[in-house]
Symmetry: C2
Subunit: 469 residues, 2 copies
């Protein structure tokens, strides 16, 4: 589809200008700041609107939407115990929560979602199929990393020198890798905006063999790599117990880190780890809301930026956030660091935030040549913001207010690969009212639940983490 | 006006129930959980909706809306330099920004705003009149504390042992207090929901005489007291320079602190200060977003709660936040502390957050007997949330998701003093579209501005705060 956006506001180096932008097929064909372009195809009125490249929701778990609001304030290890205790969603629910995740991402400036997708045991491929269907229907660019592990949940908590027995994981390393090959063969279609990534959950629940298999799979199929990394103090302890080195040293030693590897959280790195990460070109995905909610800590993002590490933003799963508003993650993920460094000259500016969210996001996916900036020849993953919405008024600095303010329903139009998938703030290819009605069929507002897992895990956790009994 | 809300969901001690609620005039007349109440007056369908008492936006500066998005990430002292550099808004703008502040507060669950109102020099009474007009028109409950001082801006930065000359403030202590008396005489009408408070900006810019005059005024007219307190490390240093004691010790010594005193920020208190604050019954107003934005620090809210100090939430002015979404302030202001205390048993739960936002807010205004809970006989300042909005789906724990999620346009109806001032998510008594059009008449998106004040203040600030040149 061809179209021309007329007189939209875009940022320049130090200010703003108005431009005409021509889109031809999937690409930005021309951008003119000086003279109007001859309209090609549909004409879009860009006046009183801000045009930016789409952002990347660099780390989420879409199906956690089913438990958002439910889990009380707990640290990660106990939170996980409750998360995995209850009946997993069915494939229809996976489809609905992927749609919900996509809608919230799109309506907060995201055009691409990295879904570290929790799999239904025994229905792993169906889980991926349901998410693929949702993302293709709504039209968002997607990177699905089926969340895999080959060790059972209790192995993720440090032993603290005590002897603990662990159940075997329900399937073997080979079965996990075989399932991944099937998923790649069936769903990996980068030219259509649908990508599979290898995404072992992290060092806390994966064997050497699983990491090796994932690297082999990613090399053979040219896949991006993803994982959680050092989200909690407990994981830092666990790495030392498991490898007698830091988790970053381990991942570097086995060769997991490269410029197409993105790593969620990265809170508990030591200084030597930062240098290693910088050397490998791997990307840090910053999930500030989840990190606060779970009390995991503040990722040292200013240090990463000073070391030259690429940083992107993520919402993390909706049970640890508990939403998918990317503008909220960008805001808090930027200003949170102002309390970690007294020298305000190091603080992240709104323009830097926007660059991290767009270019930083796609760089972690190896797509910086094709996405992430308003550049002729790049793909048309674009967002048009309505600057006349109350939350973006009065007329001040559009990017300053978009990042530091609390924008609400400000996304007017979104294009992915040149196709309009949001118009007048509504998805064009799915029925939002129908999605809400489908979600309403599940659950109940007035029932409360109790977690048995928490009761079982809590005593050991408090002991290992040196908390009062 | 009389009306009956039927079958709304409300929280009980450990879960939820559905109720009918009868409102008669300004009051909650009856609440029935067991059997339907006979409908009186208008019937409101409460099904699929959550009913809560209104929250308090416990600290803001409404006219800062005109600069939201504009000021780069700076610490408070430099940020203030830029804030006060440019032409102040005119009374018409004061009126518009008060309306904007009220709309954003109402649409995020607030029914009451504490406006620490920055005055136009030479038009002090007109400034207050413009804000009063706005709040009366839209119908929100308001506490206006005209922001007063009697020392010039540069005196707010510690000298660090150097000798510095300061300009005299543009009007005398007596003139300031005389203006305040006029404002009280003209606008203080508590029975109509319009209250004037004494609100010296803080120890950093006020003389002993100004504090004494404010206390005398508040005693004579039964006014609430308000002030900023220890927002920055620089203010902590300044208090020691100025009084040879902490700011809390000073305020306690002069008798400023009582159960109707609310204090914004309270970040840099020492342990002895916490005990003093608890003893006086004063309220801490927590402004987490502004505190992050300005790099001021994390207020030790968990310690305050453990010491028995009442805590409320505020958005702070929209130039240091840069919005007025109270649900965002409640979310971040609750989960931010999870990184300050490893023991998750101390973390604030969503139910506690809601209680702080409602009951905590009104307690700081001495209104806990009349507002802040769903109780028969209390005033009907109520909010009805639409639980079928995508951002509050699926059906899980309504308060968990309201606080920890990212609710967007979820406020369906708001009543203040029994009068419906929001219906179907829109203000009933003002024209929102007209407000947006009026705001659009000012400013320009594409001009950038440079601050001369920053250039002048920066070198001294960096030296006093021990930052590299």
């Amino acid at each position: 589809m061809n179209f021309t956006i007329q007189q939209a506001i875009i940022p320049t180096l130090n200010g703003y200008t108005t431009v005409d932008v021509q889109i031809e097929g999937e690409q930005i064909k021309a951008i003119s700041t000086d003279s109007p372009l001859p309209p090609r195809g549909t004409v879009i009125d860009g006046r009183k609107k801000l045009l930016l490249p789409g952002f990347v929701n660099g780390h989420t778990h879409s199906s956690e939407m089913w438990q958002r609001g439910l889990i009380p304030p707990y640290p990660l290890e106990l939170w996980l115990g409750e998360l995995h205790e209850f009946t997993p969603p069915n494939p229809e629910q996976i489809y609905l929560s992927a749609l919900g995740t996509a809608v919230e991402t799109l309506l907060s400036g995201g055009t691409c979602v990295v879904d570290h997708l929790v799999l239904i045991p025994g229905k792993e491929v169906e889980t991926v199929a349901a998410a693929v269907k949702a993302y293709q229907e709504i039209g968002i660019r997607a990177y699905i990393g089926p969340l895999i592990q080959d060790q059972s949940m209790s192995e993720g908590i440090p032993s603290g020198g005590t002897h603990r027995e662990h159940e075997a994981y329900y399937c073997s390393t080979e079965e996990v890798l075989g399932m991944m090959q099937t998923v790649v063969d069936r769903f990996h279609q980068p030219e259509a905006g649908m990508n599979i990534m290898v995404a072992p959950t992290g060092i806390q629940l994966c064997s050497d063999g699983l990491f090796a298999g994932c690297m082999e799979l990613s090399d053979r199929n040219s896949l991006c790599r993803h994982a959680h990394l050092l989200e909690t103090k407990a994981q830092q302890l666990l790495a030392h117990e498991k490898y007698a080195m830091t988790a970053v040293q381990y991942l570097d030693k086995i060769g997991y880190l490269n410029p197409r590897t993105s790593l969620a959280h990265c809170i508990w790195l030591e200084d030597q780890d930062i240098a290693i990460l910088a050397k490998t070109g791997a990307t840090v995905v910053h999930n500030p809301l989840s990190n606060l909610r779970l009390g995991s800590g503040i990722a040292p993002i200013l240090k990463y930026r000073q070391a030259g590490i690429n940083v992107a933003f993520g919402c993390d799963g909706a049970a640890s956030n508990d939403g998918q508003d990317l503008l909220e993650a960008i805001k808090i993920g930027s200003m949170l660091h102002n309390i970690t460094d007294r020298d305000y000259q190091h603080w992240i500016t709104p323009r830097e935030s926007v660059e991290m969210a767009a270019l930083g996001g796609v760089t972690g996916l190896g797509m910086e040549d094709q996405l992430g900036t308003l550049t002729e020849g790049k793909m048309a993953d674009l967002v048009l913001y309505d600057l006349t919405n109350l939350s973006l008024l009065p007329k001040t600095d559009p990017i300053g207010l978009l990042v530091m303010g609390r924008p609400t329903q400000v996304v007017d139009r979104v294009w992915v690969r040149g196709e309009e998938i949001i118009a007048q703030g509504q998805p064009t290819r799915i029925d939002l009212k129908g999605l809400r009605e489908a979600l309403l069929q599940y659950g109940d507002w007035t029932t409360t639940r109790q977690s048995n897992n928490i009761a079982q895990l809590e005593q050991h956790y408090r002991q290992v983490m040196d908390l009062p009994k």
